[in-house]
Every structure is written in C-alpha cells, then in structure tokens.
Subunit: 198 residues, 2 copies
C-alpha cells in the first residue's frame, strides 16, 4: 500500500487554460502554443496526474488543429468522463440548483417584460440585442448550464482532484461539493512550485 | 422480522388530491370536505401508511382553515420532510436536468424575442400577458421547478412509496428514478380496493 505522500495528486483542467486569452498567455500566445507550453512543464512533474473530461477535450479541438496537437499531450493529459452511472450527488445540491434556477427564470421573465415595454420607443434590433445579453447573463452566468460543466465538477469529485477553471458556475458548485479549485491565472506558478521542490 | 407481506405499503400525497377541483371531487366539494372524505376511507385501511412532505402540507394550509382540519388527519397523514442531508441522487439525473433546463432557457428567449417583435403591432398589455403564459409553459411545465417538487420526489424515493400527484414534472422524474406513481383520479378506487379485499 502506498502512503498518502506517495499517491499522485490529480488535477482536472478546463479548456479555458488553453483557450481563454486572459489566462492562456502564461503558457503560449495561441491555443496550440499554450498546449505545448503546458506540456513542457507538466512532463517535468511526475507527482501530478492531469485529466480533462472527454467532452471538454472535444471543445478544445474546436480551437486547435487536431494535427498540431502533440501526441505527448495524450500521454500527459488523460481524457476521462466521470462515471456518471455510478456517481451520486447529495440531495441538497438538487434543492439549491432548483431554487437558483427558479429565481433566474423569474428574472428572465422580468427582463423580457421590460424589453416589450421599451420596444415601441426604441429600435427593435437594439432592444432585442440588449435583451439577449441581459437574459443570458441572468440565466446562465454563475450556474452550471451544460453537460460539460457537470462533467468537470463530477470528474473532479470522482478523482478527488484539484479543479482548474475560470467558469463561475463550476467554481460555485465546486465549493458546495468540497472540491478544491484554482484559478488558471495561478496555475503556472502552482506547477513551477512542484519543479523547484522536487 | 416482518415478512414483505406484512410490511405496510406507503403512499406519498401531493396537495392536488385535496385542492385541484378536477381530482378532489372524488373525495369532497371543498378542500376541507375532501380531507374529511379521504380520512373516512384512509382510517379503514390499516395496511397503508400515508405521508405528505411538510412543505406540501404548508401549501395545503393555504387552501383550508387550519381550525377546520380534523386532528385525526395528523394521525393518519404523516408529515415528513425527506432526509435531504443523507439522501443522494444519481448523477445522470443532474445531466438530464441541466440539459432540459438549457433547452427551456433557449426557448424562453425565443418567446421573448417574438413578443418584442409583436410589441409595436398589438396592444402592449395583451402581448405581455400572452408572453407570460408562453414563457411559463416553456420554462415550468413538465419540470421539477420548486423545492416542494423535490420534496415530493425524494420523500417517495426515501420511503419506497407510491406517489400520488398530477404534477407532470414530478411524474416525469418519478419515472426516471423508478418511483411508482398514480394519478389522483384513480386514487379513490385504489383505496377502496383495499377495503373490499381486507
């Protein structure tokens, strides 16, 4: 039996690390360069295992040319879906999610009503554009709203891993479920600390 | 140890049984009469245990005068919240819920856009009323959208009980979770079958 010290720590990555310009610059100027920059560091850290949900990896492929992804990445960054047919989530999670959605749905309706009242007085296209923006903000921001988000959270929970993401919804629910998380802006420093200490 | 035959079967009731005019008429012409009608039958069936989530019971109190509720009801119809801090739900439930909500949120936005486009051409009040109706249908019907709904589903699951409700959202999720359910319109006949056979 390995001691806790010897067990490899696990890290679950979101695409933002390689795609979001605000955070990927630590690793490279383009998504492909960022992947290579991450690889060069990650290969030097045998004590960490890196994972990405398969659905999130598919998203990443929309931003890079598949041929440009080095084969070594697939040896360092494991693709794995959460075991969704075995995993469970606490029931209180369901309550908080339903209550959150209920409030947002009501807010969405108020935004729509306001837009209808403005419609006669302003340019229709502008009204619709502003409404779309407000509606999406009200109903999507800070909430897990896609199966990719659920994959991220559940995989981190299943692996007892550190979650690296900028998604506010994922971070909020990670906190509710006791999942450790890190903002990608600190991730390069975090990785380098392993190399200096090893 | 009691045999399976001896174990009392459990039934979880929604308020609709006493409140919804379409279904309560089997038991009585007003909510209070329906409660009394149910009680008279239920008291004759020792092999069934009746439960209602506390939150749903609170809803029921909005429709009846608390003083008119016979004390015997509280001995026959047990109030109990699900054990929400111990219960878990399967992770696939979360995926289906999030996907369902995502589609509904998009549909809600399309309804709002259509209303804005109609706003200049019709009476503003009528446009808003029609939009509210369509929006609520799109975002609320056939989905569990309140903590009372979650209480119903989880209590039925926890007690391995028969769920009696007309709520489409609750029925849909009961089916996903393998919970038995019955429409209130058949509930009186169901109860009477126990009296004839006992």
């Amino acid at each position: 039996m390995k001691s806790a010290r010897q067990r490899k720590d696990r890290v679950v990555l979101d695409t933002s690390l390689f795609v979001n310009p605000d955070v990927r610059n630590d690793f490279g100027d383009s998504p492909t360069e960022a992947i290579n920059g991450f690889l060069q560091i990650a290969e030097q850290i045998p004590s960490l295992e890196f994972y990405m949900p398969s659905s999130i990896f598919q998203e990443l492929l929309n931003f890079v040319n598949e041929k440009e992804i080095p084969g070594a990445l697939l040896a360092v960054l494991h693709q794995k879906s959460p075991s969704k047919h075995e995993l469970t989530c606490p029931a209180f999670f369901l309550y908080e999610l339903i209550e959150d959605i209920r409030e947002r749905v009501n807010k969405g309706l108020r935004i729509a009503e306001k837009a209808v009242r403005t419609a006669g007085k302003s340019d229709e296209r502008e009204v619709i554009q502003a409404m779309r923006k407000n509606y999406r903000e009200a109903l999507r921001e800070g909430i897990i709203d896609s199966k990719e988000d659920v994959d991220l959270i559940l995989l981190a929970k299943e692996l007892d891993a550190l979650l690296v993401t900028v998604d506010h919804g994922a971070i909020k629910w990670a906190e509710k479920l006791g999942i450790r998380w890190l903002l990608p802006s600190k991730f390069k420093e975090y990785l380098l600390s392993f190399i200096q200490n090893d």
